[in-house]
Point group: C2
Chain length 344, copies 2
DNA sequence: GTTAGCACTCTTTGGGTTTAAGTGCTAACG
DNA sequence: CGTTAGCACTTAAACCCAAAGAGTGCTAAC
């Protein structure tokens, strides 16, 4: 990519901001009039033609103004966007909302996307962490019915999983309590599968306790660990309707594609966790998501988590013509607030 | 309403079935040709004009064919629709799906709507029962952190609620277990608020046990019962995208309205539980739902439950031009299968 | 390097016409 | 009397065409 001159950059920025604002292709005349350029339309045409050659702009058709390409937007967010600070009202709403939220992880996350959907005209999105990778704080067994047992597993971050399974023999609630205590004593910064390994190892070592109780415990542990938690990972979306307000989605087919991607959440999840381990805040523009249905959408997401552990991504999905200057700081802010909230 | 002649009825039926099939206004000519009427278009026109006067048919505009009104459809489902039996393939799929489902109520319901969304070109919908009205089978407390306690409440129908709350004093897991046992011993065909009342009464009576433990238990019980379960009642929807395939929803504004109603589930819930205590199977056609956004939709729903207790409604939402003959038996079948499944 | 001018392209808009479908009405028919 | 054929009428949709509007690229002059 060749270097852009200062003037080219200024023009590019003006085109993009005008386009973000109006949603319509921007032509040389409007540009020359609106912005404080001291240049004639003709000159701007030349500059814009160059920018088109470089791939930053394109035209829907000859005789229409220019609109930014994905590359144009990319250049904009990387170099040009001036980030406005989060409005006091928004800050207030975010903090108020998060304080009210109950302690369950799901509730906190849900409040997060809801807030984003309310503060922006876009879709709020959050990826729930894979439960299998969470560190377990507590496991408890509840006898429901004969052999049917409910395991309640709580992670340090406050995620609660209910896992229903059948034991081979009927156990009393007292026995289950004893087993719970045993398990909880040896948890300790382990994930569920870590616990599983540890339990099996302990049992192999600890031959002394091979009494009847212990055999039962082993059996129970086998049937419990055989069953995976059903929520492996998932995404939550809110404010899908917001998208309908944007003119670029008045095309029914396009909308259908996007909603389809929303419905089978797998593809969204793949995008969110795709470049996992990258930067703390990510902007994915149009085709960069490598998801055909999402070609006309951008995502702005940030990691949230507790301490040094990343739990997932939270952010928004909107048209590529997104108000990046406002959204990027906002997403950043909310991810931060949420991480702090989960620290408690 | 004046009585309809046999011929009028036959014509009405033909018009409706043709319209359900084609989706387009049906005129006298097509009717005369297709159906085995031995009548000329002119005669049919006369009949149709009468039916329009009676309010069963209407025209989008002069010089268009007729389409059935809500009243027309109503007459059709009440008197005319011949119900086809559920196809063997569908029966198989429903049973297979339900067998696989885990034991949690939510899972069973989710499988239900999913199946409906797959077997029909409409939206599957189910109303989750209000947890506050469910009979409680089991309550268990899990100590998470100092005063923070997780209550796991399981209903007889398999619904699991996690309720997070704070106790005033720090209690050990052992104490919590004892309290759990105490509570579970006195459950017995009561709802959560029933349990609450009973506990408070028991404690008032049972002065003898007013020792330290008992004071704690009372305190805990107070903070626990103060907190309502967060899932009061709710609806689950699946297959929203199916609706996009129907021509009557290609109008963007109309679609937007419907999706808005879907998003804020309250209005759907109101429709579902509106005529609660009515018939086992209900068909709500167009404006009968009294929900402006749903003016062009019909609902076919049936009660599901266990034993004599109704838990909620399951069914589909589609255009008023719905294939009632097929859908009504299908919804009936699945509600039945689900009720049996919940019996286990 | 910048700009005015100009011919050109392409979409959008609007009017007008035609086509197709279907109606209501009337008069004839068995 | 019910039924039917015929016909004039209505309306939406499809189509065409012309004009308008916006914007471009290019060239020549400043």
């Amino acid at each position: 990519m060749t270097m852009l001159s200062a003037r080219q950059i200024k023009v590019l920025q003006a085109v993009i901001e005008e386009y973000i604002h109006s949603g319509e292709p921007v032509g040389s005349r409007t540009l020359s009039r609106s912005s404080a350029f001291q240049l004639s339309p003709a000159t701007l045409r030349n500059v814009m033609a160059d920018l088109e050659d470089e791939g930053f702009l394109c035209q829907p058709h000859t005789s229409a103004g220019r609109i930014p390409t994905d590359l144009g937007f990319r250049f904009y967010v990387n170099n040009l966007a001036g980030f406005t600070s989060v409005s006091a009202a928004a800050q207030l709403q975010i903090r108020a909302r998060l304080e009210v939220a109950g302690g369950r992880l799901e509730e906190v996350l849900h409040d997060g996307v809801l807030t984003l959907a309310q503060l922006t005209p876009y879709v709020g999105v959050v990826s729930l962490p894979d439960f299998r990778q969470m560190i377990i704080r507590h496991i408890r067994f509840v006898k429901l019915h004969e052999c049917r047992i409910l395991a309640v597993v709580v992670s340090v971050s406050g995620a609660v999983q209910n896992i229903l399974f059948d034991s081979e023999t009927s156990l009393s609630q007292d026995q289950l309590n004893r087993f719970s205590n045993y398990l909880n004593a040896l948890l300790g910064n382990l994930t569920l599968s870590g616990v599983k390994r540890k339990v099996l190892k302990e049992m192999a070592n600890d031959k002394r306790g091979y009494d009847e109780l212990f055999a039962q415990v082993l059996a129970l542990s086998k049937s419990f660990f055989a069953k995976d938690p059903d929520q492996q990972s998932d995404v939550m979306l809110d404010g899908k309707l917001n998208l309908l307000e944007h003119p670029e989605f008045s095309d029914v087919e396009r909308m259908k594609g996007i909603f389809k991607a929303f419905e089978e959440k797998g593809s969204i999840l793949k995008i969110l966790d795709g470049a996992l381990g990258g930067e703390q805040l990510r902007v994915i523009i149009g085709a960069e998501s490598c998801c055909e249905e999402m070609r006309h959408c951008s995502l702005v997401t940030a990691e949230y988590g507790r301490e040094d552990r990343i739990l997932g991504q939270i952010g928004v999905i909107g048209p590529t013509r997104m108000d990046y200057s406002r959204i990027i700081p906002l997403v950043n802010y909310i991810a931060d607030a949420m991480s702090r909230r989960l620290q408690n």
